[in-house]
């Protein structure tokens, strides 16, 4: 087994909700219920799941941006929430993020040079101008942009090129781990293919690891080795991407795979119902029983009284369901 680059252990994250009146107790909302994931060096782990299930919250916790109430984040052996300022800066060079919006995430007032050198300027304070310029040239070449791009502004680039700039910025500190939260969902499929191919090339060349969040199961299948499926703040299934998508074991994963719209399938068929859709939601603390039970088509008695634990399907594949 190769070295583990990222390991989260029992992450719990709660948000404080506004109190309905000054006399009532402040309510909190638990959005991560003890999330543990592991990513081997040089591999990619996809995170898919319900909108609002906590994927971006997990990404922010991994990036050291939002301290979880409990649990640990270990990156390349460092417990990042236990590091002091200087050590954290040193460790931060090892992991970088790419976010969803190629338009909003680049400051329009700055040149590409300023934008992509920002992480080295803030994390490697001693670096001299010549070394910095060498790094800029190196990452621009890696993402396939001409050197002259450095002196242009973001609005002079198309969506796909802007996402390359965001990748260049993420690469400049020579990280080992990249956390990508929906990095291609704003792009049309041909540019999306260019960016994904680039990410795969860079992974092979530089041995990068990706934590890759996406709603597009096709994209996740194309770029990841393993996938974790999230529902209401819990990982409900985790295993090799192809196996999980071909033969999902958890009822939520099955619903997800079945709902993918397919070209050539013609107009959608559906059963009309006038009741609003049933949506299980996050609650203050843990619930008894399975959190998916409210909508699960194969629910049994036991599901309401006993909380399912992750059951192994194979040694590398597990599902959190009594009947997986």
């Amino acid at each position: 087994m190769s070295e583990v680059i990222l390991k989260t252990t029992d992450l719990v994250r709660e948000y404080q909700m506004p109190r309905p009146s000054i006399f009532s107790k402040q309510a909190s909302l638990r959005v991560l219920h003890g999330v543990s994931v592991e990513l081997a060096a040089g591999q990619s782990l996809g995170i898919v799941g319900e909108s609002g299930s906590g994927k971006s919250t997990l990404a922010r916790a991994v990036m050291g941006l939002e301290r979880p109430q409990s649990g640990r984040v270990n990156i390349a052996g460092n417990d990042i929430y236990a590091l002091n300022g200087a050590d954290l800066r040193e460790a931060r060079k090892g992991f970088q993020a790419i976010f969803q919006d190629p338009y909003g995430s680049l400051d329009p007032r700055h040149t590409v040079r300023t934008i992509i050198s920002e992480p080295v300027v803030s994390l490697e304070r001693g670096i001299d101008a010549a070394a910095r310029n060498r790094r800029i040239a190196e990452v621009l070449e890696a993402v396939g942009l001409p050197l002259a791009s450095a002196d242009k502004y973001p609005h002079e680039f198309s969506g796909g090129q802007r996402q390359r700039i965001a990748i260049a910025r993420a690469l400049i500190t020579r990280p080992a781990l990249i956390v990508a939260d929906e990095p291609v969902s704003a792009l049309d499929v041909s540019i999306q293919a260019q960016v994904l191919n680039l990410m795969m090339d860079l992974q092979e060349k530089l041995g990068l690891s990706y934590l890759f969040i996406s709603h597009d199961l096709g994209v996740v299948r194309a770029i990841t080795d393993r996938v974790a499926v999230m529902h209401l703040g819990r990982i409900v299934e985790e295993g090799p991407t192809g196996a999980v998508f071909d033969n999902p074991r958890h009822p939520y994963t099955q619903a997800l795979v079945a709902a993918v719209p397919k070209p050539f399938s013609g107009r959608r068929k559906r059963v009309r119902s006038d009741a609003p859709p049933q949506t299980p939601v996050h609650t203050a603390t843990t619930v008894t029983g399975c959190a998916y039970a409210a909508v699960c088509p194969v629910r049994q008695e036991i599901c309401l009284t006993q909380t399912p634990i992750a059951k192994p399907v194979t040694p590398t594949w597990s599902a959190r369901c009594h009947f997986a």
Partner: protein
Amino acid sequence: MTRPLLQLAGMSVELSAGPSRVDIVSDVDLELNRGERLGIVGESGSGKSMTALAVMGLLPERMRVRGELSFDGRNLAGLPEAEYCRYRGRRVAMIFQEPMTALNPVKSIGAQIAEGRRLHLGETRADAETKARALLDRVGLPAPRFDLDLYPHQLSGGQRQRVMIAMAIACEPDLLIADEPTTALDVTVQAQILDLLDDLIEDTGTALLLITHDLGVVSEMTDRIAVMYAGRIIETGRTDDVFARMAHPYARGLFAASPHGAALARRQAGEARPRLNAIPGIVPDPFARPPYCSFAERCSFAEPDCRRAIPPLDLINTDGNVQHRAACFHPRARMVAP
């Protein structure tokens, strides 16, 4: 013959940058009737959102419309802003591509959804809020967890997108423009939202203009489709006919690049990961579009005549009363699907 609800004829969107002028969108013809569904797909930067914003009267500064743009028989180009306000939100509504820029960060989500009904329909605050509550339930944000008093920053990306959908459909508009309405949603919530749009169209006769890069969504939701490239419509027709033939080489390339296709083949251990079929090259900058086929530099079927003139959007087939047109001198004839 009644006039279509929305009609664009030879419509262009012109950008002035200092002394120079360029067409961001060139010579677009589109018609949409009540209860119809039209999809727009195409390259990033091809002008899909600008076409939509032109209809909404919300083009960025320095851009203006040329040609015909009429709604319900009335020419919208050059309509004074005060009159546009009566259309917008009431008769024509839009789900914007970027929720974060479209939502007001300092106003509660309930107030933002209720606003349209109070303004356009003169409803009381209480009635409008009851309606807002029902809309939030419909988009999968039920009470009490998703209170009307929440603010956008307390929501996830996909939850914000659903708030915007609730805002757009609040007044049951005649025309709904949905610009990438489901990109931030997982596929099960996406299915709920598509059901909601289907209901709206069937119950109120809303016309839908759906912009998306998800070929699965466009195929499942629309009757007709227009494919855009470099500011022009390069193929249009019934959705299933266009999917079956993809006469324009760009349309074919788009489909081949989709991860629905080949890249899904199972990989053997130790084998390199298969790459996706990206279309080589990049779209020409709007300021440097050639006076001939703008796909020529990237097209594997290009011939000398492709570099002599801009191919017109020619009729290649008629199915029922819907024309299938493609802007290519050498349209592909072999069907890609049954």
